[in-house]
C-alpha cells in the first residue's frame, strides 16, 4: 500500500508539474525582435532596441495576464539573415510576433513567412510603401517614405521653389521618394531639372553634388536612409553649396536626430518634412525624450519611435484580445487602433495596416547649443499617398 501511495503522489506531482509547465508556456507572449545591431544599419538597430527596452521598463513586462518576452536577434543588415532568423524564431522559439526590420529587403523577405505562419510582423523601421501589401499579417508603426515627400513638395511649391534637383539613394525607398516628390511637385507646376541616384552602400556624394550645383536649382531634394545624413551634409558644405544659395529640402531622414547634433552649422536652415522630431512640442514627448536619453545615452530619432509605438501596439492589441496571442486575433485587434504617441496622434489604418500620422514641416535651428529640427507647420492625419492613390 505504501508503494502505491508513493506512486500516486509521484504521478500527481508529475501531472502537476506538466500542467504548470504548460500553463507557464501559455503565460508568455514572445516577440522576436530582428534588427541590425551590426553592419551598415546598426544605428537603427540601436535606436529600436533602446526604445523597446524603455517601453518595457516604463510599462512593465506583463500585460493582460501575460508576460511579454522580447528575444533580440542581430540581422547584421543582411536580408537573408533576417529571413533565417525569423524562421528560427517562429519554428523553434515559437514567437507570437516578429518585429523590427531595418531595411525594405529584410521586411519583404519576411513577408511570405508571416503569411505562411500566420504570425504578425510589426515593421518598426523600413519605409517603402509596398511592404504592407505583401502580407495580410504585416502592420507598420514607422512611416512610409512618400508620406513625407508629398508634404515637402506641397510646401516647396507654396514657398516659391520652382526648380529642384532630386538626389536619392538607389533602392526602393529612394525610388518611392523620387517618384512621389516629383509627381506632386511637377503636378503643381514645379520643375525637376535633374534626377540623380546615388549608390546605397558607402556613397560618395561629391560628384553628384557637383552635377546638382551645375544645374543651378532653387533647392536640392535629398533622400538618404537614416545614418547617411552626416556624410551628405559634410560633403554638401565642402562643396560650398550652403553658401551658393541652394536650399536643401527633403523628408526628415537626412537630418536624423541621431546624427544632427554632429552635423555642424551647415545643416541650419535645412527644411524637411517628417513625422517625428525630438524637439516635438508636447508634454508626452518631453517625458519620452528625457527618459530615453537618460536610459540610452543618446537622443531618440524617428526609428526609436517606430520601436516604441510598435511595442505599444503589441501591448494594446494584447489588452484588447484579453491575452489571446494568435496571429488573426492580434492583427484584427491592431487594425484601426488609435493612440497618442510622443510623435503626436497616430492610427493604424484598418484597411492597409499602415500608419496614419501627422507630418510636420521643420527647420534645423540651434536650440540651447544643440541642433534640432524645429517644427513650424503641421499636416494632420496623413495616409500613405501611394496606397491612397491606388484606390
Amino acid at each position: 500500500m505504501k508503494a502505491y501511495k508513493w506512486m500516486a503522489a509521484l504521478s500527481a506531482a508529475a501531472i502537476g508539474a506538466l500542467a504548470a509547465g504548460h500553463a507557464g508556456a501559455q503565460e508568455t507572449v514572445k516577440v522576436g525582435l530582428i534588427v541590425s545591431m551590426t553592419g551598415q544599419q546598426a544605428s537603427t538597430g540601436k535606436q529600436i532596441k533602446a526604445a523597446v527596452e524603455l517601453y518595457q521598463k516604463q510599462n512593465g513586462d506583463a500585460v493582460a495576464g501575460k508576460k511579454v518576452q522580447v528575444i533580440l536577434r542581430d540581422s547584421g543588415s543582411v536580408p537573408d539573415n533576417t529571413k533565417r532568423l525569423a524562421q528560427e524564431l517562429i519554428v523553434n522559439d515559437k514567437v507570437n510576433i516578429i518585429a523590427g526590420f531595418e531595411i525594405t529587403p529584410a521586411a519583404l523577405a519576411v513577408a511570405p513567412l508571416a503569411t505562411e505562419a500566420k504570425v504578425p510582423a510589426v515593421v518598426m523601421a523600413a519605409g517603402t510603401s509596398i511592404i504592407t501589401e505583401r502580407s495580410p499579417y504585416i502592420v507598420r508603426t514607422s512611416f512610409t517614405v512618400p508620406q513625407s515627400c508629398v508634404i515637402i513638395a506641397d510646401w516647396a511649391v507654396k514657398n516659391g521653389i520652382k526648380k529642384v534637383v532630386t538626389i536619392v539613394s538607389d533602392y526602393a525607398p529612394g525610388f518611392d521618394a523620387e517618384k512621389s516628390f516629383t509627381e506632386r511637385f511637377t503636378g503643381a507646376g514645379g520643375q525637376v531639372a535633374q534626377a540623380i541616384r546615388v549608390p546605397l552602400a558607402n556613397p560618395d556624394f561629391a560628384p553628384f553634388l557637383q552635377r546638382a550645383a551645375d544645374a543651378k536649382p532653387d533647392a536640392i531634394f535629398i533622400f538618404v536612409p537614416s545614418g547617411q545624413g552626416g556624410t551628405f551634409m559634410k560633403q554638401y558644405t565642402e562643396r560650398g553649396l550652403d553658401k551658393a544659395g541652394i536650399k536643401l529640402i527633403g523628408p526628415g531622414d537626412v537630418t536624423d536626430d541621431d546624427l544632427l547634433p554632429n552635423m555642424g552649422d551647415a545643416a541650419i536652415g535645412t527644411v524637411t518634412a517628417h513625422f517625428y522630431s525630438a524637439d516635438h512640442n508636447s508634454p508626452k514627448n518631453k517625458t519620452f525624450v528625457e527618459a530615453f536619453t537618460k536610459a540610452a545615452g543618446f537622443r531618440p530619432n524617428f526609428m526609436a519611435l517606430g520601436g516604441y509605438d510598435g511595442m505599444h501596439l503589441i501591448y494594446e492589441a494584447l489588452k484588447k484580445t484579453g491575452g489571446k496571442a494568435d496571429g488573426d486575433s492580434l492583427i484584427t485587434a491592431m487594425k484601426g487602433m488609435k493612440w497618442e504617441s510622443p510623435r503626436g496622434p497616430i492610427q493604424i489604418d484598418p484597411e492597409t495596416r499602415d500608419i496614419i500620422q501627422n507630418v510636420y514641416i521643420r527647420k534645423v535651428e540651434k536650440k540651447a547649443g544643440s541642433l534640432y529640427n524645429v517644427e513650424f507647420a503641421t499636416f494632420e492625419a496623413v495616409k500613405d499617398p501611394v496606397k491612397a492613390a491606388k484606390k
Partner: protein
Amino acid sequence: MLLARLSQEEVTGRLVGRAHWHPLEVLFWVAAFATIWLFPSKHLILTEIAWLALFALSLDLILGYAGIVSLGHAAFFGFGAYTAALLAKHEIINEPVIALVVAGLAASALGFVTSFLVLRGTDLTRIMVTLGVAFVLREIANQNGWLTGGADGLQGVTMKPILGQFRFDMFGHNGYVYCLVVLFVLFLLARRIVNSPFGLSLQSIRNNPLRASAIGINVNARLIAIYTIAAGYAGIAGALLAQTQAFASLAYFDFERSADLLLVLVIGGTGYLYGGIIGAVVFKFMHDYLAVLTPQYWPFWIGLLLVVLVMVGRERITGWTAPFRRMADRLDWRRLRPRGETTEGR
C-alpha cells in the same frame, strides 16, 4: 626526392590507398545524415552549414589544391543564386534540381571566362582580379534592377517542390535533406577529382608551377579546368541558398561573403576536403551562438577567437581531433611530401 626512393609499385600503392574510404570518413557522413532525425529543430542552421560547406569546398579546390588565392569567390556564389532564383521566378525551370544544375553550369561558364584573367600574375594580382570580378558583378546586379530587383533583392520567388514531390517547408526539413544530399554528391565528385591524376597534377602545380610545367603538365589548362569546376560548385552553393530562401539579394556578392569563406577555411584548414565542411560547422555554430548571446558585440568575440586560433595554432587547439586529423592525412597527399613543407598558411 622522396619519390625517387620509392619503387613504382610503392608509389602506386600509396596513391591508390589514399583514395580508399577510411572508417572515420564513413562515420562522419553517417553522423551528418543522422542529424536529419536527431536535430529536427536545428535544420535551418544546418541548411546554412550545408551550403556554406559546399561553398568552402569549392574555394578549397582552387586554394588548397591548386594554390589560387581568391577574395572574390562570392561572384560565382551570387551568380548561381540569381540564376536559380530567376529561373524559379519566371517559371523557366520549375524543378529545383534541374535549375540547380543549370545554375551550376552558368556559374561554371562564368568561371571559365574569368579564369583567363586569374591566370595572369601572382597571388596579389589574383586577389585583386577576383575581388574586382565580384565587385563588377555586384554592380551589374545593382544597376539592372528590372531583372534583379536591385538593392531590394529579388522578390516574389516561389519554389516548386523538389522532384515534384517534396515541398520546401517552413521548418526547413526538406530543404536541409536536399542541401545535404547535394553536398554529399558533390563531395564524392570532388573526392574523385582530387585523387585522380588530374588532382595530383594540380597539387604539383601548387607546389611549384615551374617544375610542374617542366615535367610536362599543361599548367594553364589545368588551372582553367579546376577554376571552372570550382566556380560551378560555388554557383550550386549559391543556388541552394537562393532555393531554400526563395530569395536573392545583392548581399550574396558582398566582399564579406568571400572573406567569411576564407575564415571558414582558416578555421577548418586547407588542402583536405573535410577542412571546408568542418570549418563551416565551427564557424556557423560559433557565429550563431555568439550572436544570440550578445547580438551587439559578437563580431568582437569572433575576431578574438580567430586571433587566438592563428596565434596558438589550429593543431594545438584541435589536438583532441588527432584521430580525425590522421584520417585527413590519409586522404591528403601530405605523407608523400618531404618533411619541412607544409600547407599551413597557404
